[in-house]
Symmetry: C2
Subunit: 453 residues, 2 copies
């Protein structure tokens, strides 16, 4: 008999983890809905024609492909076999597991474009699969949690993303974090302003390493990537920029005054922040980061990234504005803005900071316990009263010693035990014991319900 | 540019469907939790060694297999190619998509047996995949929604399953349905009593067709399956049995008096129903169906199946008791009882009976609308008040005519629009319009919040 095991890079979620994950996900869902976003789901499997070519060569390699059903190898020839896997693949597989939620969403928008109401706000919380090399904190199956609004370029959306992030984090008890904010047009403008128009890609890749390797090494890399010495020198004031929002904006207006695109980027940042103020909101947690460059090739406007302070975990949320979600499926001009929460990382952050509520999050609140058959019968007769009041309640189903029942409650982290002894049966009451404090008192059933609701 | 499409047998769920599905699933989850069940999740992918051989030959064929990553064909030889797909399969695939939630649960129990608290009550709501031929109402990806308790043979569990089904159906507004209840031991007893011990399998397969093909044809089939004429004749009183619970039990006690197992089955049915009464519950919807035979090979005690009256849709819930969940993974003797809700079918039933709440189930409740920039600014400034009160609210993000905003609200099934005109701006109020009735009134913001909470 072989011992069962899990595929590499996959996980089970037990009851404790699921309670905690649901705590996070419910908070996120409630927030999305409060802002008018509605849920959709797409299938785990997509046609390979939908997935392939959307994530670069490396992404294509990381797609999990599904073997065709039935006699899958019937069209494979000896020549295919000689040519190897790439020749065989198209003959044995036409479907793959989704790699993210963005491409399925784009497909969904295109296929349903005549029925959707634009601006269309959707959220989607589903697992995705990547054949990555498994390592600590990186899994082959993990949940993504995306919200996007498409069909509008209003900066109200950007302002509301900041509000949604702040609401989720407040509800989760996270206090110390930054919502880094930038705009792709500013990065484009910087490249133009230093005389390297169109090279914001390599510029950002290099600048991104500033914290890790320092300015001298970044300069070297830029030089290797073909940036002129003169251009690199022009970056110095940017790299050293450390002041507040107004100062940064003032500096940039000067620095980018030759770049129409750059100035547009500044204007968009200002407008989003103005909308926040109009909404009666402050700029708490908002950190305008001129060099933030997340997912550059895709974004065309705002760029977001959220980092929690004091933990070793990377960004826990991020996103940005794009102006062509669905062009690859033949529907050009669909612009929008989206962001996502990294559920696994938020889980780790809350765990590291001890922010999960102590009480079991989805578990039973009351176990009815008894000494003998008479007590069991009594417990059965009163159990429904607690459930009718919405109290998660159960009875230890097999006749057993009270000690065993209490151990069961304790192991299952059930906070209260209602003990049914002879005195309770005769008076129609219950001894309610708080397992954490050890306190117990005799209560009428009504009072016991009140105490637990 | 190729038009994107979905793989055969898969579906997207749009916002309306997701609202309705969540209405069903939230009701089920809440009920499971009220009875002490807690959620777990297992990965979509399992090792083929875990899945294969658990669902019969046909099931093995219907497993979706995942192609190994990288150079998957490197070990395939020309001989394999000549021998065809069955020889190639083990060399190119070692993982598959889960086919149900029972086998992954069994694997989970075995892998975590030292950490779980028994009796262990878990629920699990996740998609499963089967390479079935797609047809109306049958999909290649669909959700299962299972609850099981393992590590106890208490009949309290059976009684509580009846209560959970009734609670879910009551919350969903379903009134006319039967919870058919039987016990595998009774079926075993019947086979013994008619002199065909051990043949309850073929007996039930034939009897199952009674409604469709009639008794004469069933007799023929039993005869073809090797049942003696004499045995078949002994079934007549059973087939004609139509009376109430007490009468059925009395009859069976007589009919099965030679079968120890059969009598045990009767006793189990009686005990579960006695527990219901002890819990202060009636037998509403419970229908003791002596010939109910669902999933015979697997169940050893109670058998459940739920049918809604007046709809063309098959059983919407079912389950039963088993005494060896995990033996196949080397851990014998784990008994339990489980049942599941068929979410797709419940959806279809509620749809057919018009039982979904009319109001949008996860959608926005209030759209703030405006005539001009001044109104837009005012709407922005008051939006947060509604959200702070938990009211799902949004603003049309792009400057546009009021008519367009109202159309947007109407298409998105937003029930209320808050109109921000000059009078409202000056008095700090809002015209709250009910889009369904057309009624509107001018309200202070506080009153508007109260009206919508």
């Amino acid at each position: 008999m072989q011992k069962p095991s899990l595929p590499k890079g996959t996980r089970d979620f037990g009851t404790l983890q699921m309670g905690r994950r649901n705590f996070i996900l419910d908070t996120i869902k409630e927030t999305f809905q409060l802002f008018g976003y509605q849920q959709i789901e797409t299938p785990a499997m997509e046609n390979l024609s939908t997935l392939t070519g959307k994530y670069g060569d490396e992404g294509d390699q990381l797609l999990f492909k599904i073997l065709n059903s039935g006699d899958f190898a019937k069209d494979v020839t000896e020549d295919d076999l000689k040519n190897g896997s790439p020749s065989i693949l198209p003959k044995v597989s036409e479907k793959g597991l989704r790699y993210d939620l963005t491409v399925p969403f784009a497909r969904y928008v295109v296929m349903n474009r005549n029925d959707l109401v634009f601006p269309f706000k959707r959220y989607q919380i589903q697992p995705v699969w990547r054949a990555d090399r498994p390592q600590k904190g990186r899994y082959r199956e993990f949940y993504q949690c995306d919200a996007d609004v498409v069909g509008t370029d209003s900066l109200v959306c950007e302002a509301e993303i900041i509000l949604m992030i702040r609401r989720v984090f407040a509800k989760l008890g996270l206090k110390s974090y930054s919502i880094k904010l930038n705009n792709r047009k500013i990065l484009t403008g910087i490249a133009e302003a230093i005389g390297e128009a169109g090279k914001e890609g390599p510029l950002c890749v290099a600048i991104d390493k500033l914290d890790k390797i320092g300015w001298e090494k970044v300069k070297e890399e830029l030089s290797q990537r073909g940036f002129e010495e003169d251009s690199i020198q022009k970056l110095v004031p940017l790299v050293n920029l450390q002041e507040g929002l107004t100062q940064k904006l003032d500096f940039l207006r000067e620095f980018l005054n030759s770049s129409e695109t750059g100035l547009k980027g500044i204007q968009e940042i200002e407008e989003a922040l103005t909308i926040l103020k109009q909404m009666g909101e402050d700029l708490a947690h908002v950190d305008f980061d001129i060099l933030l460059a997340r997912g550059l090739s895709y974004y065309t406007g705002a760029i977001f990234e959220v980092k929690v302070h004091g933990v070793s975990i990377g960004s826990v949320s991020g996103g940005g504005r794009y102006d062509d979600l669905t062009g690859v499926f033949g529907l050009p001009g669909v612009s929008g803005v989206g962001f996502s929460f990294g559920v696994d990382r938020i889980y780790d952050v809350l765990d590291e900071l001890g922010l999960f509520p102590e009480e079991s999050l989805q578990g039973t609140r009351l176990l009815l316990a008894y000494f003998d058959q008479k007590g069991f019968d009594y417990a059965l007769s009163i159990l429904g009263k607690f459930r009718a009041a919405g109290i998660k309640a159960e009875i230890y189903p097999d006749s057993s010693k009270l000690k065993k029942q209490l151990e069961f409650a304790s192991k299952k982290e059930i906070p209260f035990v209602g003990i049914c002894g002879d005195a309770e049966i005769n008076s129609g009451t219950l001894v309610l014991k708080n397992l954490k404090t050890g306190e117990q008192e005799s209560l009428s059933l009504e009072k016991a319900v009140e105490a637990l609701v």
